[in-house]
Amino acid sequence: MEYTSDQKALIMLSVTEGYNARKRRFDSVDRPCELYDDYSVADKMIAKMESRNIGVITILDDDYPQRLKEIYDPPYTLYYQGDKSLLNDKDTVAVVGTRKVSAYGKNVMSNFLPAFIKSGLTVVSGLARGVDSIGHKACIEQGARTIAVVANGLDICYPPENLNLQQQIVDKGLIISEYPMGTKPLQYHFPERNRIISALAHAVFIPEAGDRSGSLITADYAIEQGKELFVVPGSIFSQQSVGCNKKIKELQATIAITPDDVIFAFGRNAVKEDKIAIQLDMDSQSIVDLLQEGAKHFDEIFDATAINIGQLSGILTQLEICGVIRKTQGNYYEIIPQL
């Protein structure tokens, strides 16, 4: 692909000056080519990008998303891998939150995300551990559209355990970054990156966020950019819900109790799924009744039901496969809550 000297200049700018590039708010972004005489740095970078199949969209291009231009400090360059048409998806929801997801957070995600996906929303997130990864994974698994905005060059994977997921997003979705190749995920990149997540989304949804969660920065950007902010209330004793509850207390966010609350904001109706009634036999029913009291250890179930131990293991597996209960670490079993 051929680049114009304007585009090359913007690439140079991002390579040599990084975020500071935006401080040079040369009034006419129209003529950045006047900044440089020698484009060898940009040419080298372009060669490297082409070998890794990384493309770039600059603020001067037609396919640069309009919503990004509307924010205070839009990135001049967006490096991307994957399907760039996702950038102009109409209905996008940002799903961000804590890196340490509690069981409650997982339940929220497993109830909300499938609904978002069924309604055809595109999920934007940051490929971080926890909520972000769960969101991306769900989209990839169910063939939904998803955009990952990362805080480092696209040749780097952070966090490293998401290498596989990152590759899948490249294949089936879109991954973007304002940082050129070779940029490490430095601490201050993350808040910078968050402004792009909220800018790309029409609404930001936070299932769980701790007191100092980075997702609260995204939330603040969302408010600043005039986006809708949805949070899920949590227990007042849970560390992972402090951030969400604080937003509610400060009247900055809309409370989301069902997926519909978020989906209605897009002017859509949730796709109603017929609940499948599962006929349980007596033993299974007695186990489910027992688990209604709360999570129980295998041995507690065994003790209470007096079903033969081998048989009990079998029944529990069957219930797991049906999606009624779930095994958690340490041989505990619990009901999967359904909205």
Binding site: R99, P159, I309, I315, T317, I321, K327, T328, G330, N331
Partner: protein, 510 residues
């Protein structure tokens, strides 16, 4: 004067004949040992001289040359002492009878002329029998060990002088009586029992299945959950060792020098717990004087690796080949040794470095990457050899109604033995002994599922995030569960239960 006595040397757990030639020459008094003798053999010079003198025989003031034939293999150990001493006495005409030629002579000498015990008597005798030898002279401390072999004449002595008197015909000695294996195997008991393990029903059930099918097990749980206690109980529910198995184990323990002289044979299934600082030679065998490693000493028994991720990765990886083949191969520049090592692996680990992951009582303080690093110490190929991965955790069993229902090892063992019989009959005529050892072809043949079973397995993979390589493991364990159930076919409920024992495959460690 030339004399030639016979002895045996060890190579791994096999023995080979060593002819000891003693020649007395005119010349300045001297003593030379040739035939690639190591230090222990060369030092026999002093022991033999003192022992002969202190037994009040004449020590030749001549040039003495000892040759150990075959001359090109390295000889180790002190058990040639007695044969050398007899050879010198014969060459010096202290013993005039020729009867010494009939015996394989083994024993270490003490300076006062008494005979000390040696390592590896059983494997030496068994190899000698295979080569047609029938008469043995041994230290009496090793008599018990030799007495389990029938059809041979074993003469055991405490002192060099007794050996000389016996060989010259000055005294009559009766050969040892053969000991009965069955009686002592019944009498010996383990000092732990599953009845003492409170609760832990699912873990106990899993161990029962593991033993019944010969599967390897990984116990995952926080410190103090009772993993070690349960692992120690595993031998108590294993079927009693047959005489052949006991001999195999005794051979190895004898070579390793850990045999109890007073019993002379290993009756209880071994339970070995190498520390996590163990080196590769300690585990696999080898070292300067090649000895069997922990995995061979656990042959026909249990190898328990406590806190498995704490072991060096390199050490763990060496386990893969023995787990596959049942032998530990130790290669040296000049020779390769094989030690049998068909053991059941019981490993334990914490769910995370701090041990509290998944605990309802304590908060886990590990970061995801710490947990990831901890778990990833166990390589996929190694985990592939472990069919059952179960979680053990400390919960209070005090208020449990059925806590008095704790089953004894005896009754669990009865079920295990029944399942083993089913397997023996099924695999008759093949090298497979247990479900764990099934080849892929055998898995296809004996682990066929009905429609409902297939469906269940397929759903389990998609819904429960099982990894694909778990299929065969699940099938093998299902087969064992069906065998325990006395069922000819594998039913869906058996598959469903087997899936419960694949904890590590569940991706909630992500």
């Amino acid at each position: 004067m030339l004399a030639k006595t016979k002895s045996y040397a060890l190579n791994g757990v096999e023995g080979y004949e060593v002819a000891i030639e003693v020649d007395l020459n005119a010349g300045l008094p001297a003593y030379d040992t040739v035939g690639l003798a190591d230090t222990a053999v060369k030092e026999s010079k002093e022991r033999v001289r003192a022992a002969i003198k202190n037994s009040l025989y004449n020590y030749p003031i001549r040039k003495i040359t000892i040759n150990l034939a075959p001359a090109d293999t390295k000889k180790e150990g002190s058990h040639f002492d007695l044969a050398i001493a007899v050879g010198i006495l014969v060459a010096n005409e202290e013993i005039e009878s020729k009867s010494y030629k009939d015996y394989i002579i083994l024993g270490e000498l003490s300076l006062d002329g008494s005979i000390n015990s040696i390592r590896g008597v059983l494997p030496l005798i068994i190899s000698a029998i295979q080569n047609g030898h029938k008469k043995f002279i041994l230290p009496s401390k090793n008599a018990k060990e030799a007495s389990y072999i029938g059809g041979i004449e074993v003469y055991a002595f405490d002192k060099l002088s007794q050996v000389v008197e016996f060989l010259t015909g000055a005294s009559q000695v009766e050969p040892l009586e053969t000991s009965e294996f069955v009686s002592i195997s019944r009498a010996n008991k383990y000092n732990v029992d599953f009845a003492e393990v409170k609760g832990q029903f699912v873990a106990k059930r899993a161990l029962e299945i593991a033993v019944a099918g010969g599967h390897n097990v990984l116990l995952i749980g926080p410190p103090g959950a009772g993993k070690t206690m349960m692992a120690k109980c595993v031998p108590t529910i294993m079927p009693d060792m047959t005489f052949e198995e006991a001999i195999e184990v005794t051979k190895i323990h004898s070579v390793a020098g850990i045999l109890d002289d007073s019993v002379g044979i290993v009756v209880n299934r071994p339970f070995r717990t190498p520390h996590h600082t163990a080196t590769v030679p300690a585990l696999m065998g080898g070292g300067a004087n090649a000895r069997p490693g922990e995995i061979s000493m656990a042959h026909n028994g249990v190898l328990f690796l406590d806190e498995m991720p704490e072991y060096q990765r390199r050490t763990l990886e060496t386990l893969r080949q023995p787990l596959e083949d049942g032998v530990a191969v130790v290669s040296r520049a000049k020779r390769t040794l094989e030690y049998p090592s068909r053991f059941m692996l019981v490993a334990s680990m914490n769910p995370c470095p701090c041990g509290n992951l998944g605990s309802k009582v304590q908060q886990c303080k590990c970061t995801p990457s710490e947990i990831h690093r901890y778990i990833s110490k166990l390589s996929g190929p190694l985990l592939d050899r472990i069919d059952l991965q179960i979680e053990v955790d400390s919960i209070s069993y005090d208020e449990f109604r059925s806590s008095e229902l704790n089953e004894s090892s005896e009754s669990i063992k009865a079920r295990v033995e029944k399942a083993r019989t089913v397997q023996r009959n099924r695999y008759v005529g093949t090298s497979t002994k247990t479900n764990d050892e099934m080849t892929n072809a055998q898995v296809r043949k004996y682990c066929e599922l009905d429609k409902a079973g297939e469906e269940l397995l397929k759903n389990a993979f998609t819904k429960l995030n099982l990894t694909a390589r778990a299929t065969n493991r699940v099938l093998k364990v299902s087969r064992t569960i069906a065998d325990l159930d006395g069922s000819q076919d594998i039913q869906p409920k058996h598959v469903a239960e087997a899936i419960q024992y694949r904890s590590l495959d569940r991706k909630y460690w992500d």
